[in-house]
């Protein structure tokens, strides 16, 4: 049993070690001291309560979008469209956020978040319908839907949804009642708690519930699942829409808790980084939590690293990318026990 746990975690740890070594070489080659740089990075992330709170804020969208990836990938559905689904969720929140105050504020917020999740699910649902009805590969359709979401937002924030007064291409700020509660004086907000609860819920679904079992079986061996009487198509639809809902929720929370409005370049690519988070977390909800915090910490510490060690904060992107390259390269290892993909099944 312990062996299998080690076999699951080991590739992630090896990939991390590899990424640290590679980035240390790059830092040294650019004339800085790797030890100083990494120290600054760590300090910037975990050095104070303020920075810790910042890590939490940065981790939140990655965690939810990472869960979106985990759900769909475990069901064998390659949703590359978390970015678009996240943007659509953010759009829903921003569009609804200037109305309201009909209900108690917390109920308004909760219902708006639900709408954001539903819009994300619907956006993913387009790809699901294309896949099930027209056999369109979801990798293609979800990527294309990302561009459509970007274009749609670009149009809306410069046109119909542009702020009153029309100075900048952005929406009006949310009504203060719809702002996600924070733990003042820190920036950390209630959204992180929602994201952690979502991780628990996804874990229960995948490992404690029949639909989740069916999704995993369908993802690992669709032919066997079908012959066992599992409705594979239904599970594909469910996985993709749930994935979209989680991504949409990520966007909605980010608008409500951090930006309070929507503008172009709202997302720095959370939906894509989420794929890295999902893979680093080995597609398990617990792993995704750890991976999201790690990526959030890199993000939060990068400015300190630039300030203190003079290493460009872009290096963080290098670390993230290197982790994924190592991880993918380790997927087909023969010398590690228990590779989940060693039987030529679904590959990333």
């Amino acid at each position: 049993m312990l062996n299998h746990v080690v076999a699951r975690v080991l590739p992630s740890l090896l990939a991390l070690a590899g990424a640290v070594i590679v980035s240390a070489v790059i830092i040294a080659a650019s004339g800085s001291n790797p030890v100083v740089a990494f120290g600054a990075l760590l300090g910037g992330a975990f050095g104070s309560l303020d920075s810790l709170s910042d890590v939490g804020v940065k981790s939140c969208p990655l965690l939810l979008a990472g869960l979106a990836i985990a759900v769909s990938f475990q069901a064998g559905v390659w949703n590359i469209g978390a970015e678009g689904q996240l943007l659509m969720g953010a759009l829903a929140m921003a569009a609804l956020g200037t109305y309201g105050a009909r209900l108690p504020a917390w109920l308004d917020l909760a219902s708006n978040l639900a709408v954001a999740a539903a819009v994300g699910a619907a956006w993913a649902g387009i790809a699901a319908q294309l896949k099930l009805r027209r056999n369109v590969n979801e990798v293609i359709s979800t990527i294309m839907l990302n561009f459509i979401a970007l274009g749609l937002i670009s149009y809306l924030v410069q046109g119909p949804l542009m702020e009153t007064g029309g100075r900048y291409p952005q929406t009006d700020a949310l009504l203060p009642g719809l702002w996600m509660p924070r733990l003042a004086p820190y920036r950390i907000h209630l959204g992180l708690v929602i994201a952690l609860l979502a991780a628990v819920a996804v874990h229960v679904l995948l490992y404690r519930m029949v639909p989740g079992y069916e999704m995993r079986a369908a993802g690992l061996n669709a032919a066997a699942a079908r012959l066992a009487g599992i409705d594979v198509e239904r599970r594909v639809l469910m996985a993709l829409m749930l994935s979209g809902a989680l991504a949409g929720l990520a966007g909605g929370i980010e608008v409500s808790a951090v930006t309070h409005r929507l503008y172009e370049r709202f997302s720095p690519g959370w939906g894509f980084t989420a794929i890295a988070v999902g893979l680093l977390g080995r597609l398990s909800p617990a792993g995704v939590v750890v991976a999201a915090i790690f990526f959030g910490a890199l993000d939060a510490g990068s400015n300190a690293m630039q300030r203190v060690a003079g290493v460009s904060s872009v290096l963080v992107a290098v670390i993230q990318a290197t982790v994924i390259l190592f991880l993918v390269a380790l997927e087909h290892r023969r010398w590690l026990p228990g590779s989940p993909h060693s039987d030529g099944e679904s590959q990333v």
């Binding site: 049993m1 299998h4 519930m209 029949v210 690992l220 699942a225 012959l227 009487g229 989940p340």
Partner: protein, 517 residues
């Protein structure tokens, strides 16, 4: 063009070639000669070693021992390309063409390289045409995309590719399997023309009629060894069939069971179905299986076995006909409905369809609608109960694992199959449909699976064993029917006339409904 012929030496001689895979002796010291200017048929059941032998000749496999003499010189090939350059080309059952490339480009892939970097499309087209002319094959326009070619034209292109290296020996692996009846005649004409040019044509088949139609000599293989080589004119179809099936296996059929007289549980009436290409694969198949009966469905692979399995387990709706379990005819054909009707199954390929390899033993025990629903409490999986269930199954079927949390991938093939069998039997099916249930298992595991099937039959289940392994069918079944070219024979009861069985398998005698129509 004619290939020079040395009258004294055989074109190709195989001397004492043996080949062993992990736990199967595929070839046991095989010696065989092929002459120049002959069409030599290689006849045998599935697993007789025909393909292994040909793969050795074509450079795809290396023999463990033995030598191969091409025109009297010992040869050894590092690759299929090397064999082809030396003059031995093989056409596989599954084409090895690149759909997105043109005819000329596909041909260029098997020609000696002109340059490592540049591809001269015009030169390739000219060369392709020249090659086709030398051999006298009609080639489609060189710049046609292969994706647009009909099957017969693809096969001609494959033959041309195989002959590109000089073509002293051409090996064809069941070339008629992919062809429509109308396409077979031109193929045979072409093979005769190649023979006139002095080439050796080796023709793998298990259809006696084709041997008679086109071959000069025939070699019969059984269990990795040569039974004999005969002039086709001097053997009858029934003699060939008898040698192919072998008379050594006396019907080990369950002779102790006098007569099965339980109620009919499974009734299949006039089932027809098409395969993936839309070609009729099952034609008016009817049979009944009683409680406490094991019906064996023998036959050579590709005669409708897969389609029959798919119809019975609900994967493919039949084009016509009905399946009735007990009193109820199946109205929906999907796996869920079949399971609900009480039709359990053991699929032919446990890795592809029977198990989810990365999941644990315990999780794989749940992999059936019927079992999963037992542990479903409004969506929640009743884990404790499922765990007890798995432990009971492991206990009852003497499954010895380190832990039920072991991914099933780490189990031996025998234990994996036991997981499938245990799960299926736990459903307490009224009908059990199995396909090659003991394939690839060692003796002990195969015996355990066989015993489990007999036990479930004794408890009143109607069991169907669809198998391309005749020994397996004879070992398990109370009665045997033969599926040949999508038609089912009458039931053979013990004692079984092995010669008749062989003829049925080879499609040499008409099945009942064929005679009727």
């Amino acid at each position: 063009m004619t290939v020079s012929t040395d009258a004294t030496a055989p074109r190709l001689a195989v001397c004492d070639v043996a080949k062993r895979f992990a736990n199967v002796q595929a070839l046991v010291g095989v010696s065989l000669e092929f002459r120049a200017g002959e069409i030599h048929a290689l006849l045998g059941e599935n697993g007789a070693g025909k393909s292994t032998l040909m793969h050795v000749l074509a450079g795809l496999l290396r023999p463990d021992t033995g030598t191969i003499l091409l025109d009297g010189r010992a040869v050894s090939f590092a690759s299929a390309r090397a064999a082809r350059q030396a003059g031995i080309g093989m056409v596989h059952q599954h084409f090895t063409l690149v759909d997105a490339l043109s005819v000329a480009e596909n041909l260029a892939l098997s020609l000696p390289e002109q340059s490592h970097f540049l591809f001269d499309a015009d030169a390739a087209a000219i060369e392709a045409r020249a090659l086709a002319e030398r051999i006298g094959l009609q080639l489609s326009t060189p710049d046609t995309l292969v994706a647009q070619l009909p099957v017969g034209a693809c096969q001609r292109l494959e033959i041309l590719k195989a002959l590109a290296g000089g073509g002293r020996v051409l090996i064809l692996d069941e070339p008629t399997a992919v062809l429509t009846p109308q396409e077979v005649r031109p193929l045979f004409t072409m093979l005769r023309r190649l023979r006139e040019q002095g080439r050796s044509v080796i023709f793998i088949t298990h259809k006696l009629r084709e041997v008679k139609a086109v071959a000069d000599r025939v070699t019969v293989m059984r269990r990795g060894a040569i039974v004999g080589t005969y002039d086709v004119s001097s053997v009858t179809e029934s003699e060939m069939a008898e040698r192919m099936v072998g008379t050594v296996t006396s019907p080990a059929i369950r002779a102790h069971r006098e007569r099965v007289d339980g109620a009919v549980v499974l009734q299949v009436v006039e089932i027809s179905a098409r395969d993936g290409r839309g070609v009729p694969a099952l034609q008016g198949v009817s049979f009944a299986v009683r409680a406490d009966e094991i019906l064996g469905i023998a036959g050579v692979d590709g005669n409708g076995q897969r389609e029959l399995f798919e119809v019975l387990v609900g994967l493919t709706p039949p084009a016509a006909g009905t399946v009735t379990v007990g009193e109820h005819a199946l109205t929906d054909f999907n796996p869920r409905a079949a399971l609900a009707a009480g039709i359990g199954h053991i699929p032919p390929d446990r890795h592809r369809e029977g198990l989810v390899l990365p999941m644990t033993v315990q999780e794989n025990f749940l992999l059936s609608r019927n079992i999963l629903d037992r542990f479903n409490r409004r969506g929640l999986l009743r884990r404790a109960a499922a765990c007890r269930f798995a432990a009971q199954l492991a206990e009852r079927y003497a499954l010895h694992f380190a832990s039920l949390d072991t991914p099933v991938r780490f189990l031996s093939g025998g234990n994996q199959q036991r997981v499938v069998v245990a799960r299926t039997l736990a459903e307490q099916p009224r009908v059990l449909v199995t396909a090659n249930p003991t394939r690839g298992l060692d003796f002990a595991a195969a015996a355990a699976v066989s015993e489990a099937l007999r036990a479930v039959a004794r408890r009143g289940c109607a069991v169907v064993v669809i198998s391309t392994d005749l020994d397996e069918v004879l070992d398990l079944s109370d009665r045997v029917r033969v599926l040949s070219r999508g038609r089912l024979s009458e039931a053979l009861e013990p004692p079984i006339d092995m010669e008749h069985l062989g003829l049925l398998m080879a499609g040499a005698v008409a099945t009942q409904n064929e005679a009727r129509s």
